[in-house]
Subunit: 187 residues, 2 copies
DNA sequence: TCCTCCTATGTCAGTGACTGACATCAACTG
DNA sequence: CAGTTGATGTCAGTCACTGACATAGGAGGA
């Protein structure tokens, strides 16, 4: 028999979600999460760099997915198409990992907490920077790369918030397509 | 004679800048800043909501400037022109309040510290949201308002980073014009 | 002039996020 | 079977921040 119950990380992940939904992020201490997961606070901080990260821990970070997709994109594609393709794949990954309801609950928690919004913005900025670098790798020049990355991330955010809102029956990747079309129709 | 030296806030502001530049943000405690300014830590937190805010405390927040400019914009202007006008005025305000060297030092500190990047992103997001709302007030419809606000803020960021980089002799407002032109030339 | 309220600050105790150092012990490895 | 490893526990410590209460100039009125 193992010395400890397996999957401490998974238990902490769901304990955190539950507690944040029950009491709110601010009123939940790291110790609360650890206790519900049956570990100590110290163990919590060994798995997550800080309390916020428990909400942003992804098995396959979006940056990586986007970067790989850009590297693998068709030669003939425009820069914007390359990033949008990457963003779409990230969307597929998210939809596989979480149900819409789970994503919505997470979004509600983040929306209620400025500290979490900051972290989300940082992740999005990281995605933008990564996409920009990946475009550069493909030979895209500088004003274009930045703008394309920035716009595609904007599309992703718009699509995600629409998907989560429940105003549409579309799946997340289709929401990305829809938002990308909206972007095109502005030029 | 006054009970305390006047302008405690101003002293804390410059003490913070100095210490961050000397030792770095992380190794500077709120108590250090307070001590150098000749006040107590408690007083520091009465003036600034948190340690990061000391770097983001603006006499006239950018949001307000942008919102006012959008409200006062010409009837005939396009949404993007309205926001760009607001962003340009914000640029004028910044250039009046700080020298380029001061802005560059601040930018260096922020760039070295993820926690500060998060806060900056939050401020930019707030500016975007405010601009979006101001556009709505002027009757601009929804997909357009969001995109225009988002793009104009992107222009602002590009302009600011170019101004601070020292690669150009242009003043900040002219950098905004330049970045806006670059945006136009993409469509 | 004296009294009173107001305001900016000081003082102090407390909570919670995180960190470093060290101990423990099942499981693996040879 | 002895040694090593890895995930965890334990504990003490630092620092960001907060609430409650005390203090004393200064402004304004009686």
């Amino acid at each position: 028999m193992a010395r400890w119950e397996p999957d401490a990380r998974g238990r902490m992940l769901s304990a955190a979600l539950d507690l944040f939904a029950e009491k709110g992020y601010d009123k939940t201490t790291a110790g609360d999460i650890a206790a519900r997961a049956g570990v100590t606070e110290r163990t919590f901080f060994r798995h997550f760099a800080d309390k916020r990260e428990v909400l942003f821990a992804n098995p396959s970070p979006l940056d990586e997915v986007v970067v790989k997709a850009i590297a693998a994109a068709d030669e003939g594609a425009t820069p914007l198409q390359m990033v949008l393709g990457g963003v779409r794949e990230a969307a597929v990954g998210i939809a596989e990992a979480r149900s819409r309801e789970q994503a919505a609950q997470r979004a509600r928690i983040i929306e209620a907490t400025p500290a979490l919004q900051e972290r989300e913005l940082l992740k999005m900025a990281a995605m933008t920077t990564a996409a920009q670098a990946a475009l550069a790798e493909r030979g895209v020049g500088e004003p274009t790369a930045a703008l394309a990355a920035y716009s595609a991330v904007a599309v992703f955010q718009a699509a995600f918030s629409r998907w989560v809102s429940g105003e549409t029956d579309l799946a997340l990747p289709e929401c990305v397509d829809e938002a990308a079309a909206a972007l095109r129709s502005l030029t």
